[in-house]
């Protein structure tokens, strides 16, 4: 029987690893990610389409939204937390460490939200600081868990995106039907 760690078949895991080392085409494919968001036609409600997935993005009611889903700035926090989590499970599995429980609590603080509303131009409306707190339950010593966590943080695509200042290319076009 195949060995399964953290619900992942090690055989498949290793095969994928080998594939990534050799197959440049596959690697270049997973370098590009796409999403499409549509305004739902009324207020702060949007539908996001990612591959075969679809979800709603909205704003809380105290900012005038319908609160039909999380907001964009909450999704960023979620993405960071999920990315660290993915990296943690990945790196634990690589070291053959079984994890019992893993959870992260994320807290982000905006520099100056009034800039978004056009009421200030002092600071910027982005996050200035994000605290990510991970809680782990596993049969492993503290040192190993720390190693896994550090590898997850260091190798995190979302973490690196947030810490490096990405080049954003905004384009707009007026469409007349």
């Amino acid at each position: 029987m195949a060995t399964v760690v953290n619900g992942i078949k090690l055989e498949d895991f290793n095969a994928l690893h080998e594939e990534l080392k050799r197959n440049a085409e596959f690697v270049s494919k997973i370098h590009k990610w796409n999403a499409r968001i549509r305004w739902a036609g009324s207020g702060f409600n949007f539908t996001s389409y990612v591959r075969n997935h679809k979800f709603t993005i909205s704003e809380p009611s105290d900012i005038g939204g319908a609160d039909s889903g999380p907001s964009a700035h909450e999704l960023i926090l979620t993405a960071l937390g999920a990315c660290y989590s993915t990296g943690f499970i990945y790196n634990a599995t690589k070291r053959n460490i079984q994890i019992k429980n893993f959870e992260v609590a994320i807290e982000g603080e905006i520099d100056d939200i009034l800039v978004f509303f056009g009421l200030s131009d002092k600071g910027h409306p982005g996050y200035k600081k994000i605290v990510v707190k991970a809680y782990v339950e596993a049969d492993a010593d503290e040192k190993t868990i720390k190693e896994i966590w550090e590898a997850a943080v260091k190798g995190s695509p979302v973490g690196n995106t947030l810490q490096r200042g990405v080049e954003i290319v905004p384009q707009v076009s007026l469409v007349r039907k």
Binding site: F26, H73, T78, A79, G81, C83, E109, G126, S156, L162
Partner: protein, 176 residues
Amino acid sequence: MGKVINGLDIESLSSLLDEARKNKELVQKISKWYARVRWAGTGFTFNSYVRNHSFTISEPSELGGPDKGPNAVEYVISALGACYLTGFILNATKRGVNIKNLEIALEGEIDNILVFLGISNEGHPGYRKVIAKAYVEADCDEKTLKEIWEETVRTSPVGNTLARNVEIVPQLSLIK
């Protein structure tokens, strides 16, 4: 109820802006945001909890996941797109411009994904570049449209977060 543009009540929107101008407590409250992500206990599946919302984050099957939802890097560009659209609706409504259709296509390019996998040390595993292409259908001239868009891009919380270096504080505790 007063005049409604883009599904937003103009009166309540302007009283919200007034409130944001005066009410320090409200500003403080909407400057802090939280999320919690839990590993679902098997493979690459995670549940996220944001206020009263919950949703799933996963990995595509080609990356060894069960593909139960978008993955983290896809959520990042979704967040950017949604943030631009939110700002666009706000800034259009502020100017009294009716929007008929609004859509944005995003494309992000990772610098070197092999760093995530621990196979390479060159470059970094984050996005190097994100293209955000908005399509608008509205009864307004190009100039106004450009103005709305530029203000939106300039004042976007997620855009600013991504374009600057955020301080991330990772903390770990082992629970027995």
